[in-house]
């Protein structure tokens, strides 16, 4: 149901993953995940090593933060993130590249995992693993299935249905074995018979590679998916793989499913088998007008400007927008001096013509937004209701079911900023509900 077919633009598909050098200055945000910020446990003047814990998860919904570099802590104070919001942060002056001794830096691949499920979950927490699909949900909470609920399916999201993004694809092509080990570990943590890796069928090479590798493992099934955005949205993916539907307001675990991103599986391998905390992102540097396309392993905390400088020198003069994420759900970066955080998947540079929005015209009630909506909602209606501040009615029309995939705005011939209006409406509905409590 619903869905659209944006131009795929996977122009960085064939760029092998490179390692980006460590910058001289590093700012590590304490809020790199869904939930409360981690509490800094270092002070000015402290020496830190790569992989050392510098922010501790003290709240329930929180994740540990580790130093991605070695050096001296310069200060601990708020820093503006890529979208202009001030977040608590640790500033580190980089000195050398000295790693914690506990981290296994050898290239050997370790398949055996002797940990018990409980130990795996504890280690995920210790290593600061969060979901890398976009929501950065702390993994130790997701894999600690609440009492009374039972996981039956583990689904690994490798759909990568967003235009431009290729980091998951590259990981599959270059690290298929590590990914499968990571998936096996997660499968063990949940105690489910099978794990399904969902890949859109426009990536036949990745499907072939993963299918071949999965044969060597027990209970890993590669599931080719129909090419359609948003195939990788959680509810749509669960539906495509299991035929189950997560009802409105419910979580995947309510229908016996746990979904993790492919990149998460890779970082789980590194965390469990190599003792390496989540200190690196694999991200795509791409754009139609860029001189070259790249996929990088980047230390978390490297700024957007550092990444741009190293990969392409400087932004083309006609740059209109820099996006963190894909073109459908990514966020426009406000502040290029900001550090990257866990879960960043791309630095996508859009040309000014590509980034321009066309002027809005009158709604002709064509219903394209409605047919494109994967949740079966009526976006045109939300536009009218939100503009007229009819928030109660917007709630009755299930505005909160919207997953903000952008299909409505994408397909609207009148260029109505439907997704913007729905986001505004959702916030107003939530505010109204909070006020009533």
């Amino acid at each position: 149901m619903g869905g659209v077919h944006p131009e795929e633009n996977k122009i960085s598909n064939d760029a092998a993953i490179e390692i980006m050098p460590v910058p001289a200055q590093m700012v590590v945000l304490m809020n790199q995940h869904l939930g409360a910020p981690a509490t800094p446990i270092v002070q000015k003047g402290d020496k830190v090593k790569v992989g050392q814990l510098i922010g501790e998860a003290q709240a329930f919904m929180c994740a540990n933060v580790h130093s991605p570099v070695s050096g001296t802590v310069v200060k601990v104070e708020p820093c503006k993130d890529a979208f202009g919001m001030a977040k608590p942060a640790v500033y580190i002056n980089v000195e050398g590249d000295e790693w914690m001794e506990t981290i296994d830096r050898t290239p050997d691949i370790k398949r055996e995992c002797t940990l018990e499920p409980k130990q795996i979950v504890d280690k995920l927490k210790e290593m600061g693993i969060v979901g890398l699909g976009g929501a950065t949900f702390p993994a130790h909470i997701k894999y600690n299935v609440p009492e009374g609920k039972k996981a039956e399916y583990l689904i690994i999201n490798a759909a990568e249905c967003e235009p431009y993004l290729t980091s998951d694809y590259r990981v599959m092509m270059e690290h298929a074995e590590e990914v499968c080990i990571g998936v096996s570990i997660l499968r063990k943590a949940l105690g489910v018979p099978n794990a399904y890796i969902g890949i859109e069928s426009n990536k036949p090479q990745a499907i072939a590679k993963m299918t071949e590798m999965a044969r060597q493992f027990e209970g890993i099934i590669v599931e080719p998916l129909k090419v359609k955005y948003p195939q990788g949205a959680e509810k749509q993916l669960i539906n495509a793989v299991t035929g189950r539907k997560v009802p409105s307001g419910k979580l995947p675990i309510d229908v016996g499913c746990v979904v993790s991103n492919l990149g998460t599986a890779f970082s789980v391998y590194e965390a469990i088998q190599k003792n390496k905390p989540l200190i690196e992102n694999i991200l795509t540097v791409t754009g139609k007008k860029l001189p070259s396309q790249h996929n990088y392993i980047v230390r978390i905390g490297t700024t957007y400007n550092d990444i741009i400088k190293h990969s392409i020198g400087e932004l083309p003069a006609t740059t209109g927008k820099v996006i963190s994420g894909g073109t459908m759900m990514g966020k426009a970066v406000v502040n290029l001096d900001a550090p990257t955080v866990k879960g960043n998947s791309s630095v996508l540079v859009m040309d000014e013509n590509e980034a321009r929005r066309n002027p809005e015209t009158a709604c002709i009630r064509c219903g394209k937004c409605m047919h494109a909506c994967p949740m079966g909602l009526e976006p045109y209606m939300f536009s009218v209701l939100v503009r007229n501040n009819r928030i109660e009615e917007a709630k009755e029309h299930n505005i909160l079911d919207c997953i903000e995939c952008g299909c409505c705005f994408f397909s609207c011939p009148a260029n109505k900023p439907l997704t913007d209006e729905i986001r505004l409406g959702k916030n107003k509905v939530r505010a109204m509900m909070a006020a009533k409590k």
Partner: protein, 334 residues
């Protein structure tokens, strides 16, 4: 360093626009226009040009001097209205000026009075057409004889339409009915844009291919008219009978003649599918199409007019908001 744009997602667009949709509809109307010119001569072309120019001019004037808003004539919607209005009148010389009045009503009352494109509850071209039908009943039902048209001549020999013949119930009507093939290619009397089912279906196929219309309304509209008239025909097929000593036509016409004559093809493919005035959901469109088909046959069979497509569509337009309210899309997992 230049400033970066900031906006919410999504950051790309499908490139679909109202303008492109309207121009594609105009493209789809070209086959019917060409057939009309071939059968009815330059009169058909002149009426079309006058109708289109009047619609565009009236919209420009109203937007500039009454509504005081930026002009939207470039979006091509006034041209669609102009063409459809022209297609719904006979190709006679008097239409050259009457169609201007129709254009004023279509654009002024049918569209701009409600706030312009997207806000009108009724199909503007049909509002204009029905206004003309009521105001100029003689001129609007005087049809040129398609077999006697001179290409460049404005003087026309009048002739009957198949539905007009049947409505008069003369005993000789049966022999004068055109063959099915003539009806299909459009070599029959009628409003000049509606005669050729072939040309209209060509245009409709193009619109389906470009995903501007879907099959739901045309198929249910034509299908319902076909099935409903087939039932009537099977119960009592049209035949000549002596009533009080006078031979006259009784019974109901066959379903093929029903769907190939009058405005059913044009109405079902181009006017009932108007995005603004038809339901949005597929289920709603099915109801809409069935309603149009039923009403058309009812009006034709038991009403005063030989033709009922315009009224059927306008009546269904009026219940579109109700259908929209009733036929919601199916929510995910509900």
């Amino acid at each position: 360093m230049n400033l970066l744009n900031i906006s919410g997602s999504p950051h790309v667009h499908s490139d679909e626009s109202t303008k492109r949709i309207m121009w594609r509809v105009n493209m789809a109307l070209i086959p019917a226009l060409l057939v009309a010119i071939a059968y009815f001569g330059v009169t058909a072309l002149l009426i079309s040009v006058i109708s289109v120019l009047s619609c565009v001019l009236f919209q420009w004037l109203i937007e500039k001097y009454i509504m005081k808003v930026p002009s939207t004539i470039c979006d091509g919607s006034a041209i669609v209205t102009g063409l459809l209005l022209a297609f719904n009148v006979p190709a006679t010389a008097s239409m050259l000026w009457i169609v201007v009045i129709g254009a004023l009503v279509a654009i002024g009352v049918g569209k701009m009075a409600f706030g312009g494109l997207g806000k009108n509850p009724f199909n503007p071209a049909l509002v204009g057409r029905v206004f003309l039908l009521i105001s100029f009943p003689v001129q609007m039902t005087t049809w040129p004889d398609v077999s006697k048209v001179q290409f460049f001549g404005l003087d026309t020999v009048t002739g009957p339409t198949p539905l007009g013949l049947l409505k008069e119930r003369g005993a000789e009507a049966l022999d004068q009915l055109p063959q099915a093939w003539d009806m299909f290619i459009g070599h029959i009397g009628g409003s000049f844009g509606e005669v050729s089912a072939l040309a209209i279906l060509l245009g409709a196929a193009y619109l389906c291919w470009k995903k501007i219309i879907s099959w739901h309304i045309p198929v249910t509209f034509i299908g319902t008219a076909f099935v409903f008239s087939a039932i009537l025909w099977l119960v009592n097929p049209v035949h000549v009978e002596a009533v009080d000593g006078v031979k006259q036509l009784v019974g109901y016409i066959d379903p093929l003649t029903t769907i190939l004559t009058g405005g059913i093809m044009l109405g079902a493919c181009f006017m009932a599918t108007d995005m603004v005035t038809s339901p949005m959901s597929k289920s709603g469109q099915l109801i809409f199409g069935v309603g149009c088909g039923l009403l058309t046959v009812i009006i034709r069979t038991w009403g005063a007019y030989p033709e009922g497509v315009s009224f059927a569509i306008l009546l269904m337009n009026s219940v579109t908001p109700l259908i929209n309210r009733w036929c919601k899309p199916k929510r995910f997992a509900n």
